[in-house]
């Protein structure tokens, strides 16, 4: 089982490296959209500072949706997915590996880039590490929920838009606690509970989401 | 019965718009649901009859 996990990890990292421009795509989207808000809301510094955590979090959520349709698409098209599902190895293992690499490639860069973008909104520097931290803690859950959505909409027409419609409502709790932690820190209130809930959510997602994912994938290849 | 008059009933203490706007739209939606239910059933039956007629022609035997 561990061997399967590592093998899939290596394969996915090789594929991710070959398609590394995708990372830049997600990051560019992130930057562009964050820069868009001031044009709509106005350049007033206090207002922007107040909305910074929320804007960055929502945009991170949207950016993580961008690459999700491609999570299983290639493997479906070249028949690898069917082979993987037919193999005697428990499917949740390699699904978890795929999702892990996907998160490393899309979630982590977004989380690490976020403080820079929040700086554009003049967000207080002392909460910037917390912002990155909440994103690092929350994006795995987003990726796992997104993976279920990607499996459900695999090969379906308008799959990407449908994916967004399915995943975004389910991602709201993560958004609430992620952005809420930063807001709490700004207000001088404890944010420990937020982080605990984000962590708990991530663990629950790691435990449960792969099963739902596999069930949905089996539907897609039948 | 504690309304002084019918006009008081419709007025709802000055908030008639909100009360009747709520109930009105809701009942309209329910009526629409029932209407579309009926319409869909008729459309499906019509389509299935056409589909059967087409198969009947193609195969020359009872589809």
């Amino acid at each position: 089982m561990g061997a399967v996990f590592l093998a899939m990890l290596r394969r996915e990292m090789a594929l991710a490296w070959r398609g590394r421009t995708d990372v830049l795509l997600a990051l560019s989207f992130f930057v562009v959209v964050v820069c868009l808000f001031p044009f709509g809301i106005g350049p007033e510094a206090n207002q922007l500072r107040a909305i910074a955590p929320g804007v960055v979090w929502v945009t991170a959520l949207l950016a993580s949706l961008l690459a999700l349709p491609r999570l299983f698409e290639h493997d479906l098209r070249d028949g690898t997915l069917e082979q993987l599902l037919l193999s005697p190895e428990p499917a949740v293992v390699w699904v978890l590996a795929k999702v892990a690499v996907h998160w490393l490639v899309t979630g982590v860069p977004v989380a690490l880039f976020a403080p820079l973008l929040a700086g554009l909104y003049d967000l207080q520097p002392d909460v910037l590490p917390l912002l990155a931290g909440t994103l690092l803690l929350g994006t795995p859950t987003l990726t796992l929920i997104g993976a279920i959505g990607a499996a459900l909409t695999l090969g379906v027409r308008s799959g990407a838009v449908l994916l967004a419609l399915l995943v975004l409502p389910l991602a709201v709790p993560v958004l609430i606690f992620g952005a809420g932690a930063v807001e709490a820190a700004l207000g001088g209130v404890s944010y420990a509970a937020h982080l605990a809930l984000l962590g708990a959510g991530m663990l629950a997602a790691v435990a449960l989401a792969p099963w739902a994912c596999v069930a949905a994938l089996r539907l897609a290849v039948q | 019965m504690h309304w002084e008059s019918w006009s008081a009933f419709w007025d709802m203490g000055g908030r008639g718009f909100y009360v009747w706007g709520s109930y009105g739209v809701s009942f309209a939606l329910i009526a629409l649901e029932l209407y579309f239910l009926h319409r869909t059933r008729k459309a499906v039956i019509r389509r299935l009859l056409r589909w059967r007629a087409a198969r009947f022609e193609d195969t020359g035997e009872d589809a």
């Binding site: 279920i148 459900l152 909409t153 379906v156 027409r157 308008s158 799959g159 449908l162 419609l165 399915l166 975004l168 409502p169 389910l170 709201v172 709790p173 609430i176 606690f177 809420g180 807001e183 709490a184 809930l197 739902a212 069930a215 949905a216 539907l219 897609a220 039948q222 | 019965m1 504690h2 309304w3 009933f9 709802m12 203490g13 000055g14 908030r15 909100y18 009360v19 706007g21 709520s22 109930y23 739209v25 809701s26 939606l29 329910i30 649901e33 029932l34 239910l37 869909t40 059933r41 499906v44 039956i45 299935l48 009859l49 589909w51 059967r52 009872d62 589809a63």
Partner: protein, 271 residues
């Protein structure tokens, strides 16, 4: 086939045998048996709903007293609260039929879930609409981001997602199960969403209004709300039974009994 698969297959065979047994209630799990049953039951539920609705509306408008704080406009709750309850209840029922269908492999269960979805979505919209029209005169704005209304809004998105997904997938078997999976995942999330939105709502100081602070209920108001809730429930059952009949006709169109039924309906229309 390994031992687990053998056990599962034997269990499924047992289920199917029970379905075929003439005196068993299980036979109604077959679309052919359920279709006429639904046709016979639906009018009764519709009639019951109508009677309860008339009773509830009479109580709500002519017996329930004027509220001390909110005046007459509070009467909207007799529609708002039952609609909200139904929207949440129907979503759970959808998920339930999804689980049953997946575990027992009965396609009628999935058809029932599909039949419930539009009605649940409509109740959801009614809850949001009446909530807005109640909020405006009472608290000044059409929309407040309070926990209940916001959760209701997210539930609306969950319904739309189910409807969109099941219509986008062409293979009926995949659409059934994908919808069921989505409904199950959504059901698990509904309490999480509600809890997190409640948390979010109390944190932000702007949330001084709350629809949960309903007027202190006189008994007649509570009774009226319950009557309206039952009316809404029976209405939903009637509509779902009618809708599932159309779904059954469509999905079972290859069978002989549907062919016979179509002939009967065609003759009735001509005659």
């Amino acid at each position: 086939m390994n031992a687990t698969q053998e056990r599962r297959q034997r269990w499924r065979q047992g289920v199917e045998e029970r379905q075929r047994s003439p005196r068993s209630l299980w036979r109604f799990a077959a679309p052919q048996q359920f279709y006429p049953l639904a046709g016979r039951l639906a009018p009764w539920f519709a009639a019951a709903a109508a009677v309860l609705a008339v009773a509830g509306l009479y109580l709500g408008f002519f017996v329930a007293p004027t509220d001390a704080q909110q005046g007459e406009v509070y009467r909207v709750i007799f529609l708002h609260v039952p609609a909200a309850w139904m929207s949440m209840f129907l979503y759970l029922v959808m998920a339930f039929w999804g689980i049953v269908g997946w575990v027992l492999n009965t396609r009628l269960s999935f058809m029932m879930a599909h039949a419930l979805a539009p009605t649940g979505a409509i109740w959801c919209f009614i809850a949001l609409w009446t909530g807005a029209l109640w909020g405006r005169p009472t608290w000044g704005t059409y929309w407040v981001w309070d926990a209940r209304l916001t959760s209701q809004l997210l539930l609306m998105f969950l319904y739309l997602g189910y409807l969109a997904l099941t219509r986008a997938i062409e293979d009926p078997r995949r659409a059934d199960r994908a919808g069921a999976l989505l409904a199950i995942v959504g059901s698990i999330n509904v309490p999480i969403i509600y809890f997190s939105v409640k948390w979010w709502n109390t944190l932000h100081q702007g949330a001084s209004v709350s629809l949960t602070r309903a007027p202190s209920m006189a008994t007649v108001m509570l009774v009226t709300m319950l009557i309206m809730a039952f009316a809404a429930w029976f209405y939903s059952i009637a509509v779902a039974l009618w809708r599932v009949r159309t779904i059954i006709l469509e999905r079972e169109r290859h069978t002989d009994w549907v062919a016979a039924e179509l002939d009967r309906l065609a003759a009735k229309e001509k005659g």
